[in-house]
Every structure is written in C-alpha cells, then in structure tokens.
Assembly symmetry: D2
Homo-oligomer: 386 residues x 4
C-alpha cells in the first residue's frame, strides 16, 4: 500500500481560488495525492467576498484557516500581514507536515507561504511565475520564483523567463493557466445560464440584461495607493456616460482598497446610477459565463487578460496593472481617462468579431499539475544555473 | 541648505557588521547622508558575540534595536524569526522614514528587511547579491535580488549574474566587497599587533603563538541541520591530531547552531585540548590581523574565501557552505573528513607562497557605495528586463 | 529646571477617546507633564469611525500609531489582536520611555497596554476600574486592576471594589468619570447647536428633528457572539414600529460586530426605514448635545448609564451589556424583545421629568487625574493587601 | 457512550512541569478525561533544561509544541514573548478545541495561556492562585485569577485570598499543591536512590556525597534585573567559604537569567570550586530524593517553601522571591549577604530536628483536581461577587 503525497495549497484571496480550482479538484481526485487546503487572509473575510464559502460549497475540505489580515489603510499593514502570515503558516506546516507546498501567483501575502515553506525545507511549487506586469506584484512574483523548487507557468514566454531567472529547466513546466480549464468548460454553454440578481443579490438598480451588458472589475493599484480613489472615479463617470446595463464587482483587499471602496460608495450616494448593479462576489464559473455573454469587460482584472483571451471577450483594460502581460487580440488598453474608456467601449459593437487565443493554455492545466505533483522528485535544494 | 538622505542599514549578525563597517563609516562621513543604523537579531545577543557592543565601541549611533530571534532548535523558529522581523522592522521604518534601506548578504533573517522595505515602497539596496553557494542562503540571496532596487556586488561574476537575473544593468554596481577595505588596511601591519588572550579572554588552554598558529571558524550548514554535530566532531578530531596552537571561534546563530555548540562543549569535556583556545568574538580588524599572521584558516567561513583571498592566507575550506563561490588560489577544499583536513593542513608549510587575489575588490567599496547611495535616483518601481 | 513627567495614554477605540478627552487636555495643559498620545486598534480605522481624525482635529499631537486589529469574525482574532498589540506597544514604550502608562476602561485590547507596561516595569494607571457588568469586559477590567499601580475610578462603589480587590487604598482615587466633565459643559447649552445631517453626513432618510427624536446605539455583546444579528433585528423592528425620527449610530469593532453590521444592512435593503438616519460617528460634544435634546437613548451603550445619568436623559437599556453597573433613575432596563422596547419608549413622554444624578462624578475628573499623575510616586512594585 | 472532556494543560517551564506532573497523570488515567498536553516557552529549550525530554520520557503524549521565547536580555523581550504566546496558543486552542484550559502558577508567560483561553470563551482553570510573594509574579498571579473560572489553590490562606478577590467560593478549591503528591511518594524512600553524577552528568568537580551535601538553586528576581549578577555572586562566595559538597542547579529563563548565568560562569573561570558540581536539570522525583537526603537547600526556589515543608528539609531562603509565601518551620530567611548565608548554614547541623508541615497539602492534589475537571460545570462567564 502506498502512502499518499500530501500537497498543501494555500489560498489567500478570492481570485486565486478561482484560478486554481481545477488544480484542487485534480489533486483531490488523484488516488496518490492528499489535498491539504489552507484558506488564509482575505479569502476568509466577508468584505472581500468570503471565498471560503465558495470553497466549502464546492465540497473541498479545509485543513486549516489562517487569519492574518491586519487592518489599516496603508502599506505598513501589508508588510505586517505578511509577517503574521509567516508566523501562522509555519505552525500550520508544522502540524500538517506536507510533502509539497503550493503557492499561487503574486499577491503580496503569498510571500508568507513561500518563506515559511522554503525556510522549513519543504519543497515549494509556484503556480503562475514568470509573468510580467511592471508593478509591486512583479517584485513578489519573481522573488517567489527564486524561492520555489517547481514552476508551473501559464505561457511559453513565462517559461522562458523563469528559465532565464536561473531556474533548472527540468523544473519549469508550461502547464497553461488552470483558470483556462474552467473557461474551456464554460465556453460550451452558449447563453447566460442563471439570473445574477436572484442568485447573487447585491445592491443597486436592476438593469435588463437581455440586450447586452457591460461587466466592470477594477482593483486598486498598490503602487499608486493615494490615487485609487481618483482612478475609480474616472471609471464611474465613464459608466455613467455610457449608460448601458452594467454589472460591477467590488475589488479585493489591498493597500488602497478602501480608497476604491469609498470612491464607489460616495459616487453612489451622490448620483443615481440607474443602469448599474453591484456584486460583492460570484462563483467562478458563473462569472465566466457572465463574461462570455457580455458586451465587454472594463477594468484591470487579470481575468480580462487570461480567461477572456480564451473566450474572446472584448476587454477595455485600464491603467498599468496588467502592463506587459502576454495578451490576445481581445484587449484594448486605455489610461485612467473617462473619455478613453467611453471611446473604447463605443468601438466594440455587439457584432464585434470575437478573437480567441490559447496564449494562456488549452484547458487541462489542473490535471497536468496534479500529475507533476505526484511524479516530481521531492527536493528543496537548488542552485542558480549560471 | 540641502536635506540629507536618510540611509537605514540593518545589521542582523556579527559577520554582517564586520563586512559593511567601512560602508557605515563612509555614510557617516558623507556630508549629504544621514546614517540610521538598525541593529537586530543575533547581533544583539550575548551568546552570538554581541556585535552591538563592537558597534557602540566603534562610535556608531544606533537608531533602533530589533529583538526578533525566536529560540528553538529548528527551522520553524527561523521562519518565525523572519516573520517577527517583518512586524518589528516595518514599525521601525515607519518611525525613521528612511529614503533608502540597505540589507546585507543572505542570512535568512535579512529577508525580513527586504520585505518590509519593498512592501512599504522604500527603495532597497542589497550588498553582496549575485553570489553562488548552493545552499538555502542562495534562495534567500537571489530572492532578495528580485526585491532590491540597487545592487552593490562584490565581483564581476556576481555582477553578470544579477544582470542575468533580469535586473536593470544601470542599477548593478561592482563595488568590490567592503570587507576587503578593512583587509587592505590590516595588510599594512606586518605582525600580530595585540595579545588575543589578554584582549579577548575566552576559555581553554593558552598555547604559545610565537611559532605559528591555526585559526578555526566553522558554522553549521542550514540544509544539513541534523549533521551539524557530526561535522564539527570531524574538525575537532583533526585539530586534536594536528596538535598545533589553535584559536577557535564559536559559530553564529542558525538552525543547528546548538548541534555545533553542543558538539564542541562535549568534546571539550571529554578530551583535553591542550593546544586550543576558544573565543566567542573578536573585533573585525583584530580578526583579520590574526588571520594575516596565521598558518592557515580551517572551517567554512566566508572570510576564508573573501578577505583571505586579498590577504593570501591559506584556507582549508570544509564542506559545501562556500560551494561555487568565486575563490582565489589560497583555498584548499576538503570534505567533512578528519584525514582530509589533516592532510590539507600538512600540505601548507610556513614557507607557503602566499597567493593574493583581488577577485573580491580592491579596498574602496565603502566610499563607492556611500557615493552611490547619495547619487542614485530614489525609486522602488522596477520591471524585469526580459 | 524640572524635567516633565512623560505620560503615555493609549487610546484604542472611539468611545475611549471621548471618555478621556478632558484627561488628555489636562495633561497637555499641565506645565510639568508631557503627553505621549498613542492611538491604536480600531481608533485608527475608517470603518469604526476613525477616532484618530477627531483626535487630530482636537489639536492633539500623536506620538505613535499602532495598527493591531486582525480581521476575522471570531474570538480568535480578538485574542490575536491583543497579542499583536503587546508586540507593537512594547516597541513603542521602548522608544518613548514614558514615566507612566495610562490605560482606559475594559475593552479586550486594553489588556495589551496593561501587559506591555507592567512587564516592562513602567508604572501603570487604570482609568475606570472597579465597575461591574457581568460580561467578558469584567474579566478584563478586574484583571487589569491587578496589573495596575494607580486606579482612577468613577464612582464610590467602584472605589470600594478596587480596594476589596486587594489594592492599596492610598493608590485608589474616586476622580469621577472624565466623560462627565464634557457632559457638564454640554449641559449648559439648552438646545441642539448644529444640524447633524449637514455636519456628519451619514446615510438614510432625513427625518425632521424639530418635534423630538430618538437616538440608537447598540453594540454586539461579546459573549453572545452568534446572537448579535438576532439582537439587532429586535431593535430594528422596534424602531420601525415606533416610527419616530431616529438617529442611529453604527457599533464599534468587536467579535460579532459584523453580525450587527450585516443585520442593519440587510434590514435596510429589505425595508424602507422612512424615519431613520444612520451615522458612523460623531464628535463627543455634539453627541452629548444630541442626547441632551433627545426623547431618549435606546441601546446598550455605556453613555446611557454614565453621561445620561448626569444629563438626566431617559435611556432604554437593552440586554446584559450594562448589567450591574451603577445607574441613576434615568434608566429603563429591557430584554432583546421588540415589544418591551416599544413599551419602554412609549412610557417616556416629552414631559418626562428628567432625573439627574452625580453617581459618576461632578465634572472635574480630567484635572484631578492630571494632578495625580504629576504627584504620585513612580512605582511598579506592589503586593496584595491581604 | 460518553464523550471525554478535553483538558488542555499548558506547560511553559521545567518547574511548572514538576509541579503538576501528578495532575497530568491523573487526567491521563481518568476514563472520562482526555489530556491535551501543550509544551511551550522555555520548557522546550535546551539551555533551560529541556523539560520536554522529561515529559516524553515520562510517557506523556504531546498535543502541540509552542516556541515563543524571544531572545534578549531585557524586559521588552518578556512582554513580546507573551504576545507571541497569545498568537500561537490561540491557534493551538482553535485546533484542539479543549473543553477546559489549565494554566499553572505565575510565570510571566502563563498570562498568554490565560488571555488566549478566556478571550476565546474557553473555561480556564488556574492552579496555584492566591499566593503572595511581593514581586512581578504577584501581579501576574492575581491578574490570572481574575481571568480564571476555576481555582485549584494550594493552601487555606490562598483559598481565602482568592475568595476575597471576588471569586465565587463555589469555584475555589483547596486541593493542596500537586507537587506535594510527589514529595509524599519520595519521602517513603529513606536514602539517596541514585548516583547524581552518573545519571545527570553536569560539570565541575565530583565531591563525595556520603557525609552530607548542600543543594543550591537560585533564580534571578525579575524586579531586580540588573542586580542578578551581584546576587548570585554573594551565594557563590558563601558556598566557597562553607566549602562542603555542593550540588548546584542552573536557573530557568527570565529577564536577567543571563546575568545569573554569566555570574556563575565567570566565577567558575576565576576560582576553583573544588566542592561544587553543576547540574542543568534533574527529574522531579530524583530532585526531591536528593533534597530529602541533603543537609539543606540554599537559594530562592519555591521548592524550599513547598515540598521541603512537607519533607522537613531545612532551607536557607535568600532574598525577596518567596516573600510572604506561607511557610513551615523549616525555612531560615536571609538577605543577599554572604555572611548571613554562611551563618544560616552553620546553624543547621546534621542532627537538625526536621520540622514537617502540611501547609501545602497532603499528597492527593492530582486526583482531586482531575475529579474536579471532570465534574465542574463548563462555564466561562462570571462576575465579581461584590
């Protein structure tokens, strides 16, 4: 009888969960792997969408919860949240004794996972390294690459970049992004399969979605902390001017998040937004189904760059957050300017010819990664290749 | 009237202090720089040599002390020490508001400095990046490179490596290692200028140093935690067999340090070591002066690779700790084997032809770095170059 | 020239600030005292009313800010918030080197102040010990009494209780509650002196206040965590039924706060509350002026027990939160029952004969405390009296 | 089938373990209780005697280990150790979900146990409250009493004191001290049953124990931090002067511990102590057996006040550490004065008439406490009785 490899995956935010859900399922289904799911940081918190509820509803068992978000509208709190994360996760790893720890992407607090695992000599796998954005996330992402032992990247460019960072090419795998796995399933439905208002509540008016609608998701940009309120107001004014049915999603936590949130709240108090409904959260598949049937996505979410590439949904991408990321032809880049946003949306008609791309993978990342987690040699010792 | 740039340097261990002392002096002397010296971790602790006392005696003013070493003979404690370091240093940076933070080398807890500074959008300078050793230190070192904005490296190879890691070449400077600045000064004395027993106390017998002596400094190797006691015993038996006057220095703190310490203590209780004296600590210049007049250095300290290269002191380098570091012709590499160590020492005669090298710099790193800290543009935003 | 005594006061929440504001002023004005004001925990956070903004507007200089609120809707987060508070406050005390530390009342995180100070051998003064409520606050309050060196209590009963707890009677002073100092000033105005909607914004309808209005302030009760939503809904239904102009104040942070907040938000989405306006916060004096001119206060705030006693404002006090506190004749106690609340309010007419009491002091607590802080011997060593 | 009550006991130091060992055994043996043993702080550390090794050897299963000792020779580190303890223990309690948490005595870090449990609404039992010593321990002890729900005290005076502190008399039990249980067993042996040198190693000379020997155990006194070195030197000189066979035990961790340790080390380097052997640690029963057969105990350990009362061993009790503790006639109190210590020892002859007392209990505390832990109502809500 063989002993299962224990794979600890740390989820720290709602979008990270959506991104790796098929990986979690594939680990869970694999006869020789045991999933140790750790839910931490904003993924546990109501005001950032309680990813934890979706995780439970999806049938995953949670091995440990880690509360480490220190409140405060500043960068110091982000640093301290990371410090507390290390304190807590090292205890969790001590208890669970995983064979491999998996960390996802590049949010600031994922560094806590990377440090706790690597300092404790636990082999560390990193999903979604090697990408380029040009902001603080990039420092975090490449820094984690240098701590990680295995790299599951989402594109060919990312693979080459990780190798050039001095990682052993035999430990770098272009698995595609697991978020595309879900996009692949969702794209088979050819219409909106649920009523968003009934299923997800939310606040605001209830515009008719029959004749097309816009989706908005805009996060604060860490490096431009003090400007986050100004940024969100440009988008709010653009949406007011466009005046089409619009479904708006609240941002996830970050230094500056409260600037964004406050901006939205104040705008709502001041103006009637007759055509706008606000959601806190939506299950990943539903969100992709919503996007797949929308006129376009506006904002700076990476879903516009990744899943929308596969789906071919037009995206008005605002500001610097997705700078230098690989992208398909579906993306129109604009600055934080009301008029640019309006023009970009106007240039997209319903008859818009959707441009699909597999730059971020073809839909089987979850299973590929699970298989690698089973087969890779357990090791935490490495050296730069040059 | 110009405002001085505030340069916060975080010192976390005795050897780091010795390494950057000339940088601290040069910052202190520079009319347009203000030094904010932060002493942290084992640099504050008696049983690791109280670097803080040397710092005070050398006339530096301490801006903040950070106690963050969590006791425990395991890797979890190392992770938690780093987490506490982030919590504490972020408060210190909040209070001191430095323009640039400087972190040194690659000890595990230096990551706390790097994360606190980069997460708080303070420009981060890293001294001694780009080197290769093949152990956990290397993960830390290159990971810090990806968080740092300025790189002050010690050799041409290191410079090329940092650039290949995707850093902007205009922010990578081969300043040489500041430890060589001190070696350069010390090398002008041509004899032992002090009585080590009188000046530094210590324990053990008092061998006559007139006719040559050996120096030993051997640290535990983090990745080989459980073996540290076995390793130190090989060296102890070799020294017993060689039976020449020997001056032995206690190791600094690390997971495993207590294995090393216990090994030494037990050996001393069991055997008479008639020719061995033990020191806890020694001021940097005195230590180099001691080395410059010794038969050879035995152990795995980086001083054997760096300063001894400049001085031309023969070094019996044990084990993997200095693997792949650039080295001069003064180094003989051996494994953790009593007989290999003995043979290597025997191959070195007093008439040994000293082989000097400037692979780690020529003696003016401190001033070069201070000037750069004054002149470099203040920036914390970067992107990978490929 | 005499050196001023440094008095560090730690403020962790909006109501604590209101309570001790006259103490802060009196310390600031005292020629031989130096105020070191430390603002921490929820007092810094926007969603709990940003006491810090009021503090700054009132002209106080802030010596240090301490972010220590760990997010999470559970009691574990409250414990961890206290742990982080100790880590941070001990650093602050190390830097500020106060002669005396002052902690206020009984919120869970005030224990962090008490432990940091007493463990560091700094004399600790406690304002408002010796009171009785019968909930978790009481454990905290009396536990702090046993750590504190000086006791500034608010009533004669409290004084006797602190002495019976084994404290040296010479270190226990019935100064009255400093919150009464402000009530005393406010009571001299005989009408509402400002327009609450204009000055404080808030959300909801804008009922006419000319013909009387009700004020609501209801906090979650820590020990009854899971019931906090049910509790708030009783009050919401009562207010809906009473249907008089009502001004409602959001609760401050606690385990369970989000149950209360969510309860209010859901109720607002579901029902029209035509006569209710919601405020996040209000400056202390304005709040007392508002109360002084109201029909009554409903909820469980201690302001109903304390300041309203002095002012003679009728209070419908709900549930267990103020159990066993000394009270004047102005208080009607009810359970979490919609009908009881309604009946109690109906029993109060505008012609209600206001019953004033000085059970919590006569209006000069601030100056009395400042004088004691100047004169008391500095000591941190004590023993129980029996 | 009944579900067992889960009883979490937190051990933070070697002496606490010895003190409650019979409680642990009785819980373990009880068919309706499940022991959750948590080993924390200095109980895990080699240089404080590794209580954890004795615990494992005694056959107890450890449910969780908590490393929370922050290194640093100062009071700030003691505060921070407590803060870290809360962070860690709250996680442990979250995982283990005990029905009752038991904390022992009055060391500074036991406050972390008390806060984590009481803030998380877990019923808290306190062993050994109500005693009086007149130092920082006393603040901690009585403060914990005010957080605890059940009180298992060691003497009738202690019981009256806890009741006078406002605790419900029905929750205060004079169980006697569990350390007396072991003394009771040991007292039945009538000679030294082991060779201390062979069994426990240690360092120093090997005096002959046949004709009587002295035992020394002296801890630093927290409030007199800077004096700890001076204090230990008085005792060292006294022992040198008395010049009888002496067995000396190292102190456990505290702010100031390093002053004591350094004092001993320096003295040993400087003088020959021909008649003194040093031990780091000794199993509880052996230690009592050693005391029971000694001439006397010198120092300030509570074992002199408690177990030695039951055994009737003469004690020269130095300084303020045991001030105001109940004591039998076996104790001679002296100050930190070499000559006083010498005189006191001289006044004790081998024919000394041993004076036994059951002031601290009669030998069945362990079983009494286990039974109470089984039977007491689970509650975490209390109010002061006056």
């Amino acid at each position: 009888m063989s002993i299962k490899r224990k794979i600890a995956v740390v989820i720290t935010a709602r979008p990270s969960y959506s991104r790796v859900k098929t990986v979690l399922s594939a680990i869970n289904s694999h006869p020789e792997l045991e999933l140790q799911l750790i839910v931490a940081a904003s993924a546990l918190l109501d005001r950032y969408g309680s990813a934890v509820n979706y995780i439970v509803n999806d049938g995953f068992e949670i091995a440990a919860k880690v509360f480490n978000v220190l409140e405060g509208e500043n960068l110091t709190a982000a640093a301290k949240t990371t410090g507390i994360g290390i304190l807590e996760l090292s205890t969790v790893f001590d208890n669970l004794k995983p064979d491999i720890v998996v960390t996802v992407a590049d949010r600031f607090e994922t560094m806590a996972t990377a440090i706790a695992a690597s300092y404790m000599n636990i082999p560390l796998a990193h999903i979604q390294g090697g990408e380029v954005t040009g902001n603080i996330d990039e420092k975090v992402r490449h820094s984690i690459t240098k701590l990680a032992d295995y790299h599951f990247v989402a594109s060919e460019n990312a693979k080459q970049r990780v190798i050039q960072l001095g990682e052993n090419p035999e430990m770098v795998f272009n698995t595609g992004c697991p978020s595309i796995d879900i996009a692949e399933q969702v794209s088979k439905k050819n219409q909106l399969t649920f009523n968003p208002y009934e299923k997800y509540g939310g606040v605001g008016s209830l515009p008719d979605l029959e004749n097309g609608y816009i989706v908005v998701m805009q996060h604060p940009v860490t490096n431009e902390y003090q400007d986050s309120r100004k940024h969100i107001e440009s988008t709010l004014r653009a949406i007011q001017q466009i005046n089409k049915p619009t479904l708006w999603f609240w941002p996830n936590v970050d230094a500056g998040a409260d600037g964004t949130s406050t901006g939205i709240r104040s705008f709502r108090e001041k103006y009637k937004l007759e055509n706008v409904h606000f959601f806190k959260n939506m299950e990943g598949e539903d969100f992709l189904n919503l996007l797949d049937n929308s006129i376009c996505l506006i904002g700076n979410s990476s879903v516009g760059i990744r899943e929308c590439a596969y789906l071919g949904v037009p995206v008005v991408n605002i500001g610097s957050r997705q700078n230098r990321r690989d992208r398909g032809e579906n993306v129109i880049d604009v600055t934080y300017d009301e008029n640019e946003i309006v023009s970009a949306v106007n240039s997209i008609s319903n008859s818009y010819n959707r441009k699909k791309s597999d730059v971020y993978g073809g839909g089987n990342a979850g299973e590929t990664i699970a298989k690698l987690l089973k087969d890779l040699p357990l090791q935490f010792h490495k050296t730069i290749t040059y």
